[in-house]
Amino acid sequence: MATRHDRKVSILDVMGPVMVGPSSSHTAGTARLGRVAREILDEDPVEVRFILHPPLAATYRGHGSDFALVGGSIGLNVDDPRIPEAIRIAEQMGVEIVFTEEDLGDVHPNTVRIEIRGKSREAEITGSSIGGGVIEVFNLNGFQTRFKGDSPTLLLFYRDRPGMISEVTRIIAEEGINIASLYCSRKQRGKDAFMQIDVDSPLGHEALARICAVGDVAEAKYLDRIP
């Protein structure tokens, strides 16, 4: 039997989360996916499009995934009792919500692509809710990634060039912070690139400012653990 080390989950992941019912994969996990999109956008959304993989499209409504996805995308946590009212709240906020269906390929049944747009920017993620509230985001603004939202994470968008990884990781090391995992991908050599750094302890404002100041960094985003 193959043991998949990327499936490591903690006791608290298994015996949890504390959440609004009725389904951890359809309510808690999807709320967290919505929340990831909201955190990456980092401003109030104006429009959110949820593109559902067919098995999820067949089941999402009965399980309250629509409330949960929308709730997460407007910043509600999985244990927020307002989740059942999320769609109404979003409408009152003036957020345009669209649900559509599309075959997203050879992926977990509960997979969704979220296209979220605010006043000044937009973001896009594709991820799966794999059960028990655990998520895996594998595409972020067009870059391959492996984001689970279970630790503090630095997301870095930059122009691909030699030395970038060492410059960034040096700053993190100087802050005395341990890196748990690092993942890089790029669209083309020497062009747009992306780095995801999961860290063991929170990254301060100062460290983030120093990383933003590194040459060729387009954007640095720091996400806390997604509750």
Partner: protein
């Protein structure tokens, strides 16, 4: 990191199983033991609240379930139940939690929401009936979570991935190990309890009527809470599974892959496509369409209001 139940048995020989899991989790995930125990103390309290709220019953979102816990509670209080109190309470508490879940109440996913009644049903009933210190129940939740985390290394804990064996089956397996622990069983007995419980849920499909976590989920949690208790009883008496736990999990993964898509949470097979299941499914679809239409009207009304206020 503990990669298999074989390894767990070696690590946990003559040791407190909760301590083994707490140490491993602290190393792996950097969460201090005290913080894990604190979080689980709160989660036990959420489970307890669920049980109290749920006993009163109330109609579910899909209106398919609602008064199961209330009925059993009334029969129990009136002295009209024939099973022993531990068994009745395990059923009752599982039904209560699942009732709350079906009304979009706040619950603990253990390991999932749809299987969230099994573990609290077993553990809270045992705690009450055998006067076990709640702190021991919290440590038993560590054991349950630890067992689940090893299963999760090779299996997706979701009905969509492998059917209900991956949810209620896994929950009863986790709960059985935790019950053996609460009854002062050895590490080996906990693992055996987990294996016996899981083995006898293999092949259980996920075929929810109308796609809701209501039928058969709510009552199934009650029945499999009892199933887990009986597995723990056998293990504590020294009965062992011929097939080791690691291989039972392997079998579960293979069976889950072999199950057709229609029996993995899609509501396109099994109970969901019986005559009654289909009738309920189409009624739910009609109601959902009505709600969508109502929401569109509401949106329109709000837009008109905004327009009027800008003039």
């Amino acid at each position: 990191m503990i990669e298999s139940f074989k390894q767990l048995e070696e690590l946990g020989r003559d040791r407190d199983l909760a301590d083994v899991f707490l140490e491993t989790d602290e190393q792996e995930h950097g969460i201090a033991k005290a913080d894990i125990l604190l979080a689980l103390t709160r989660r036990r309290a959420v489970m307890r609240d669920c049980v109290e709220r749920g006993k009163g019953g109330g109609l579910s979102m899909g209106k398919l379930v609602g008064d199961e816990a209330k009925k059993l509670n009334e029969a129990f209080l009136a002295g009209k139940t024939f099973l022993d109190p531990l068994t009745v309470k395990a059923e009752l508490y599982a039904l209560s939690v699942m009732g709350e879940n079906s009304r979009m109440g706040v619950i603990v996913a253990a390991p999932t929401a749809g299987a969230g009644g099994v573990v609290p049903g077993m553990l809270l009933a045992l705690e009450e009936e055998r006067n076990i210190d709640p702190e021991k129940t919290v440590r038993a939740l560590v054991v349950a979570g630890g067992i689940g985390s090893i299963i999760a290394l090779s299996a997706n804990i979701s009905g969509a991935a492998g059917g209900c064996q991956n949810e209620v089956g896994v929950a009863s397996s986790m709960g059985a190990a935790a019950v053996a622990y609460m009854m002062d069983g050895s590490t080996r007995q906990s693992i055996q309890a987990a294996a016996l419980a899981l083995k006898n849920t293999l092949g259980l499909v996920c075929d929810p009527v109308g796609g809701l976590v209501e039928v058969p989920c709510v009552k199934r949690n009650a029945l499999f809470a009892v199933h887990g208790l009986t597995a723990a009883q056998l293990a504590l008496a020294g009965v062992e599974s011929v097939i080791p736990m690691d291989e039972v999990v392997e079998a579960m993964v293979r069976i889950g892959r072999a199950l057709p898509r229609g029996l993995k949470e899609t509501a396109e097979g099994g109970l969901a496509t019986t005559a009654t299941g289909c009738a309920i499914g189409s009624r739910l679809k009609d109601e959902a369409n009505q709600r969508r239409a109502d929401r569109a009207a509401e949106r329109e009304r709000l837009a008109q209001e905004r327009k009027a206020s800008t003039h």
